[in-house]
């Protein structure tokens, strides 16, 4: 039952970012379609932030084998935010959710995602 709920949350969140996931290359950034996609991705990220803030983080702290793995995802997210490639950010967030499917609501990951989104949005 709990697993089903978690899975529902996962699909709900990933469905916000994954339609806007793509890679903007430096050479493509001035193309009008890339600019439009980037704007849409930015809106999707704002929506994602709103929805994500309403979720409740896990109560039990889970020790996972790849404890520090999410830091790598966050570093990628940060790098794309710095370059303002929001479609890439959507891609990296989707990747983070997918790679940490069972643990993305752990407080360590949850609050760090929120903090990063607050910082750049």
């Amino acid at each position: 039952m709990k697993k089903d709920k978690h899975r529902q949350i996962y699909y709900k969140m990933i469905n916000i970012t994954s339609p806007h996931s793509s890679w903007i290359m430096e050479k493509d950034q001035d193309k009008p379609e890339s600019k439009k996609a980037n704007e849409l991705a930015y809106q999707a990220l704002i929506e994602f932030r709103e929805q994500f803030a309403q979720l409740k983080p896990d109560t039990a702290y889970q020790v996972s084998y790849n404890h520090g793995h999410y830091i790598k995802n966050l570093l990628h997210i940060r790098r794309e935010f710095e370059q303002q490639y929001y479609t890439n950010v959507c891609n990296e967030i989707s990747k983070l959710l997918f790679q940490n499917k069972a643990i993305f609501l752990q407080p360590r990951i949850y609050y760090n995602i929120l903090k990063t989104l607050d910082k750049y949005l």
């Binding site: 109560t59 084998y65 407080p107």
Partner: protein, 234 residues
């Protein structure tokens, strides 16, 4: 040699040890990879700052939630954060207390913003403190003892864990902390995520209680080197 020691072990690694080995090495490798793609020192420092912030948040949320959700008095004890003494190149012993006395600055720590590691180790006392601070203002009591590690931007509670922990939960109040600069320790101590080592003799100094502390230490050390390089360039 470390690998041979590892395969000779009869006892399987504990959960914390496997987390230690994986978390430290993987994160340091990732940080090095990202730093390798930057050319300017300032951008490298910004990356290190970001990772340090992430690790501090990780530690803070872990420590505060562990007692509430486990409902047993087995909170993770992370004190002392680092070895209480280390040795310089001629073998002279320097204690953390020596550094503390030299500095003796007082820092005002804001419980709503700053990262403060409180370990509320007794469930009932913690619930009492949460009840009291939820309805009243945060009061600085005589048992509050806090150390602020300047380079790690991290405060560690030595006394008053429950009330300060509750203050962090409600994000209200300030505490006064003794400021300690561990800059002096950097050339003499290094860590591999399992143990603290003497840089000169490669001898073990102490066991790392939580890999995230050693991670913060090594990142602060890297940041310090970059800051020093910036100064030299200017």
């Amino acid at each position: 040699m470390a690998f041979l020691d590892f395969i000779r072990r009869k006892k399987p690694l504990s959960k914390m040890e496997s987390m230690n080995s994986n978390g430290f090495g993987e994160t340091m490798n990732n940080v090095r990879w990202f730093l390798g793609h930057e050319t300017e020192n300032d951008s490298k420092i910004r990356i290190i700052d970001f990772v340090m912030e992430v690790v501090r948040e990780d530690l803070k949320t872990d420590l505060l939630s562990s007692i509430l959700y486990r409902r047993r008095h087995d909170a993770k004890w992370i004190n002392p954060l680092m070895p209480s003494c280390f040795y310089d190149e001629v073998g002279k012993e320097i204690t953390l207390q020596d550094i503390q006395i030299q500095g003796a600055a007082i820092k005002e720590v804001d419980l709503s913003v700053d990262c403060i590691l409180a370990v509320p180790w007794h469930f009932i006392s913690y619930v009492d403190a949460i009840r009291t601070i939820g309805t009243n203002d945060f009061v600085n009591e005589s048992n509050h003892r806090v150390c602020y590690f300047k380079e790690l931007e991290l405060s560690c509670v030595k006394g008053g864990n429950h009330s300060i922990g509750a203050g962090v939960v409600y994000k209200k109040g300030h505490v006064k902390a003794k400021e300690i600069s561990i800059k002096e320790m950097f050339p003499h101590v290094y860590t591999n995520g399992f143990h603290w080592f003497n840089q000169h003799t490669k001898e073990k100094l102490a066991k790392v209680l939580d890999f995230r502390i050693s991670l913060l230490y090594e990142l602060a050390k890297m940041k310090e080197e970059l800051l020093r390089a910036n100064l030299v360039n200017q």
